[in-house]
Symmetry: C2
Subunit: 274 residues, 2 copies
């Protein structure tokens, strides 16, 4: 039986953060397809008095491009509402005066146009997929091992994701490979990093206890948000697996079938008893 005790806190909510892939849509080579009911659910949240932001570890396309893709699918979403690792990385690099060697998907390169990349003093890796060739990983390794103090930034640390043609390795395994090769620990930019979630909360002007995160990734979405003091709700779409509900270290505040059901429960609770 579904545990709906989390809905009792819905009345005190001021904002909601949504993950994108696996919550709004399922990805695939064709660009992906909306999850039934999710377009309407986003509309309902936007029409409510709740603040809404989107928080993704998507790093295969620039923010502009994948927001345009979501708009074409029918979602009411704009670039300034979306938080993704690449713009956060650019801010960190500028702040610390670092010049990256990039190992990222071609579609993401434009995000780093404003950054000096000559004579690199750090490495940034994202979900590079087919670009994770031996040669490219070895090039990144050589840059890192040649630095007096190797600095490795990883855009997320997901293990794998699901596309229409099957499971695909995410950036995390390659982060581990470079960590081991160079005996360093990567700095993760993106979920589940607290710095990343806090930047979203800062933009919303809200405290953690006022915000609910909804995602399909138990560790990176739910666990990461909970670690920051938010509540975390898992949907049974995207990469959700039944074993998540018995996870040894992360327990979602609630688990619901999909975003449409989550939004229905939240808004229903806020409307109060009939």
């Amino acid at each position: 039986m579904a545990d709906t005790s989390w809905t009792s806190s819905a009345k005190s909510l001021k904002g909601v953060i949504l993950d994108l892939c696996g919550v709004l849509y399922d990805s695939g080579e064709d660009g992906g397809i909306p999850i039934p009911g999710s377009i309407e659910a986003v509309k309902r949240l936007k029409a409510s008095d709740l603040k809404l932001r989107f928080c993704t570890n998507e790093t295969q396309a620039s923010r502009e491009k994948f927001v345009a893709k979501l708009q074409r699918m029918g979602f009411d979403i704009s670039v300034c509402e979306v938080f993704s690792p690449a713009p956060a990385a650019v801010a960190v690099l500028k702040d610390r005066g670092m010049r990256p060697h990039l190992l990222v998907y071609d579609g993401l390169l434009s995000e780093f146009d404003s950054i000096d990349k000559t004579n690199p003093n750090c490495v940034v890796i994202g979900d590079a997929a087919e670009k994770f060739s031996y040669q490219n990983l070895n090039d990144a390794f050589r840059v890192l091992i040649g630095l007096e103090k190797p600095v490795l930034f990883s855009l997320g640390k997901g293990r794998y994701y699901k596309e229409t043609d099957g499971l695909k390795l995410d950036v995390g395994p390659y982060m581990k490979a470079l960590e081991y090769a160079c005996d360093v620990e990567a700095e993760v930019i993106g979920k589940p990093s607290s710095a990343f979630f806090n930047s979203v909360l800062h933009d919303m002007g809200l405290q953690p206890h006022q915000v609910l995160m909804i995602g399909d990734d138990l560790v990176n979405d739910v666990g990461g948000a909970q670690h920051c003091g938010m509540k975390g709700l898992q949907v049974r779409t995207g990469k959700y697996r039944p074993s998540d509900e018995k996870h040894p270290s992360v327990t979602a505040d609630g688990t619901v079938d999909d975003l449409a059901h989550a939004v229905g429960l939240i808004l229903g609770e806020r409307a109060g008893p009939l």
Copy 2:
């Protein structure tokens, strides 16, 4: 000043195990070149009353092929004296009735000719170099994650090695990638595994304290041998780095400039005072 206190135990030695790459020769795209004095040093050991074996984590060519390469360089060496991970892996696979999905260098495939590879129930990875494409690593990942109980064998766990054109990622980083992706721990076959060293000792018919390991890799050669109860000597050739002499957890029983010097000291000590 060189610490030569280890030579006091040379008189009680019954056998010596030599690493190959970085001790006998330096590898490179052209096949590699002998390290000065090493051909003569092997000859001197063979002419002595010490038992001699060779122990390598080489997994880019079959044992037959790289022994032939060493013979062409001028080394007195035969296949039955050489221990390498692939034949050890074949023995383990047969013993446990396992059918591998192989992610290894093309040159190594023939070692596995006698093994059934249909409907795989484990993954074996070696130093696959350019074959570590995203597609190939993802294929190995899909096999592993699809198994009820994923079993991953790694032929060694080296971080990187040096070729004439620079450093190259070894199998270890890719082992770490698959371990993280599938939340498993790989079984390492090859140095520094104790099972691997013990199989060499068994073949020699000697006890660990009677045998000295000589290698350029502080952790895998020296540390691995010491863990088995042997003494371990590091040569300052191959992948040796000065920082090895201040390593936090592994201290060689001795460090010498190269194999020729090591053999000179051992045989000189055994000959006794003039």
